[in-house]
């Protein structure tokens, strides 16, 4: 599943303001609301659900990347966003490193395959160190979007 199929372009955030796990999640969910991808009434419920999932085990999967996520009945299809934190945030990651690159995903409860395919794409593409590095160095949302498009066009295929 290509990035363009699930990343809500208007919700991409370079230079995240947040410094804690909950703040990052709140900021990115807020971005999805601003982009019209999720219902504002569901905002706090979705943040809570994502934080609850984090309690089961950090989604900081290593290499400075995290994939905070939840299922939620208010979405009809998988929606996601990308955020970059310049300084990095302590996400209690599996490799204990700070996270600079966030892919936040909200998916419909009855479509587990979509979530898996999004995770597949994220992890496959990020095997490329160059892409990983460029994303973390992105200064604007447009830069991030451009990189994701290039990734979708297999320009970083390894």
């Amino acid at each position: 599943m290509k990035f363009q199929e699930f990343v809500s372009v208007g919700a991409i955030r370079a230079a995240l303001d947040s410094h804690t796990k909950e703040d990052v999640v709140t900021e990115l969910v807020g971005a999805l609301v601003e982009a019209g991808s999720i219902n504002p009434d569901q905002q706090s419920d979705i943040v809570k659900a994502i934080m609850k999932r984090e309690e089961l085990g950090s989604t900081g999967i290593g290499r400075g990347v995290a994939v905070p996520h939840t299922k939620h009945p208010s979405v009809q299809r998988l929606v996601g966003t990308v955020g970059v934190s310049v300084e990095g945030v302590d996400f209690e990651s599996l490799d204990r490193e700070k996270v600079q690159l966030f892919f936040l995903l909200v998916s419909p409860p009855d479509r587990p395959g979509d979530h898996l395919r999004a995770l597949e794409n994220i992890t496959r593409q990020l095997r490329d160190d160059t892409l990983c590095r460029f994303l973390k160095q992105s200064k604007t949302a447009a830069d991030i979007q451009q990189l994701l498009e290039e990734a979708d066009n297999n320009q970083f295929v390894s």
Partner: protein, 97 residues
């Protein structure tokens, strides 16, 4: 050098997403044996969570687990059991309104 292989089927509803992938890797890492997982002809390192996630193994997917090295037998048995028990990934209701 012991090399053992077994094919298992992913049985839990949500497939091999982050939580079960982590359970698999955590268990695999407890063994000295090298562990690989193959799906549809693609083989990856079974001790790498990022690699496991690249497989996008949905429910019903067949995985061949190969363990090589000293404790390969024990490793294979433990990992096969984990997969066959659905990674203990009960459907939690993460998002009730």
């Amino acid at each position: 050098m012991a090399r053992k292989a077994k094919t298992v089927v992913v049985s839990n509803r949500d497939g091999l997403h982050l939580r079960p992938a982590h359970a698999f890797v955590k268990l695999a890492s407890q063994f000295d044996a090298d562990i690989s997982v193959t799906k549809n002809g693609e083989t990856i390192d079974g001790k790498s969570i990022l690699s496991i996630l690249t497989l996008a193994a949905t429910r019903g997917a067949e995985l061949e687990i190969v363990a090589s090295g000293g404790d390969a037998d024990a490793a294979l048995e433990a990992l096969a059991e984990l997969v066959e028990n659905g990674f203990l990934d009960e459907e939690t209701e993460e998002s009730k309104i």
